[in-house]
Symmetry: C2
Subunit: 410 residues, 2 copies
Amino acid sequence: MSEPYWTPERVDALVSQRARTLGPQVWAAATPDPRQVISFAGGLPDIPSLPAKELLRAAATVLEREAKEALEYGGTFGPLPLREAIAERWTRMDGVPVTKDHVIIASGSAHAIGMVCETLLDPGDVVMVESPNFPGSMRTFRSFGVRQVAIPLDADGMRTDVLEARLAELRAEGKRAKFIYCIPNHQNPAGCTMSLERRKHLLALAREYETFVLEDDAYGELWFDEPPPPSIFALSGGEHGVKVGSFSKTIATGLRMGWVQGPPALISRIAALRYDMGTSPFLGRVIAEMMRNGDLDRHIDRLRGIYRRKLERVEAALARYCAPYISYTRPKGGFFLWLELRPGLSSRDVQLAANERGVIVGQGPQFFADGQATNHLRLAFSYVDLEEIDEGIQRLGEALAEVAARGSTK
Amino acid sequence: MSEPYWTPERVDALVSQRARTLGPQVWAAATPDPRQVISFAGGLPDIPSLPAKELLRAAATVLEREAKEALEYGGTFGPLPLREAIAERWTRMDGVPVTKDHVIIASGSAHAIGMVCETLLDPGDVVMVESPNFPGSMRTFRSFGVRQVAIPLDADGMRTDVLEARLAELRAEGKRAKFIYCIPNHQNPAGCTMSLERRKHLLALAREYETFVLEDDAYGELWFDEPPPPSIFALSGGEHGVKVGSFSKTIATGLRMGWVQGPPALISRIAALRYDMGTSPFLGRVIAEMMRNGDLDRHIDRLRGIYRRKLERVEAALARYCAPYISYTRPKGGFFLWLELRPGLSSRDVQLAANERGVIVGQGPQFFADGQATNHLRLAFSYVDLEEIDEGIQRLGEALAEVAARGSTK
């Protein structure tokens, strides 16, 4: 047969409801972009600082000291030394007692969020989400057939007053939200950090409405001047806050290592549904060794300096080339700067004009739970080469000027 | 609060249908057994031969040569060099053209099977499964709320005549099976290998009834005297056979690396539903390097000798200590020997009597799709120390004698 029997159409007839909900399109976010461009698009870490040497040293130590344990199954909750190292670290950092029973290891934080969804979500359920938001998580929620209620942000993070109104409406319908999803630190894409007051309000609402705060903390450790306020997990004493952490941004996305940290009764339920025999004990022990020998802390310190310098370079260039067209709130850490365009400028037009100049930026409805894009561009300043920033932002400025000129001649 | 808010009961009220179907019990299979026992229980690889040195060498090569690619996202389908190495290897071994588009990398074969289930299964669907069978896979299928139709085995593998009858009955109900799950090589737990004739019949049935053969091939490369017959994937020219492979048994379970190999239209659909940003490019490239530099082939050769010696040792001891009570078909590879007990001996009683003597063996309803256990014990000969085999089987013989004596005095 030269024609395959299993055409997309024949496969379509067999796929699950979840697969039909999401459709046949493969999400390209995790796929490297082969083009020669100046990219402010992906939330990807700085390349030259990737800690290959430290990883190899930790791998050698682990394979020398504990090869048997590293190369056998490590249990459904994930490798014990990593669970213990995470518990010890966040007991110290968050000031609440975290134990291994609060922690389950995942194959990256996207997998961690997926495990929480598998454990909690049925079609027709409701979750509350910040808007704008990380498209990957919203895509995962969508695959479970749930309704996502969009809660807007401002410079202090999630508008908890709006959240309160939505939760009350939901209760009036006789429903409760399965969780409230947020990225409290250096939000993706908006760059804002939730204030302590908002965090306390959010926690009070989670208690009142008996639900979880699913807090995605991929960027929390990458602050520039001072750490963000305590996590909702910490404020709740390890109860209503369910924190998802990741080593993708602090070590490397290529490891695919993250975790969930939450009430032990929920963590145990996540483990009970898990079918993948746990996340790699080898990689888990390598990371635990980097935590133990101090390499992780030293590396994070270095990263803070690198990303601060990149942000400063971007800000200087924006002031030089783009000032008439944009405004933004300076992020206190993380990877993202969220540019609001001057009224009349279309973010889509600017994106296309920048693309034509070999500069890639993010924008569009995929960042919005209700699909209604506002007039913003997302600039990821993390990945782009430091030396290319000025050139890239200059071209973005040309794109902005071109779109503005087009508008004024219409 | 000393009493946690999120008790198991409060969590239960929020969990998904899938979590309720499976219940709160965490499956312990992937958790190391801390007891000091002689274990014939788990399907775990030999410990002393774990290729720690080869893994470290490959890791050093990868981090030296391609740190950027290894430590960045590698795409939803998984790291390209591993997909290509798998395609090249099985093109050579199976004699059909396998391309990267036939392959998606997973975090172990249990994860691979789970991805296939997520893509194909809705509650109420029907799958055909060999019985006895690997409890982990049946547990995964159960979590999706599907009906599992049990197809018995004999020494030549799945009874395809029974399968044919079941498929016809299902068609008469107006339904079709989403897939037929089998472990054609060195089956877990029964140890049998499906004959070529049965494979051809199975494939003909998959074609006729327009479904997939999900063939779990964790053990195929670990043959003792000659390779098993071609995979159903190969016989089907890469169409109706969907093969799940694993590096757990050929390298290490602690890596959590496996793959699915099937029709590109299905593989693409699996990728479209995937939410975990792909399996670790770092680990994937380490394995690809072990395939490229010949270490994997050399290691598998070594393993064949190790497992053959362990099986011979078990067989010699069975002949010495257990002959009056048991019969079995010699496995041609893999990890498992499936003992049929003499009529009147209860496998549960023998298991308990062996446990009391510090010897762990497998048996029971978890191996059977219909929950009806036959009178068998599963002896995994892979993990137990070569020097402990004789002692372990001697104690098993004592357990058999004790249970037989009890029976005769009743």
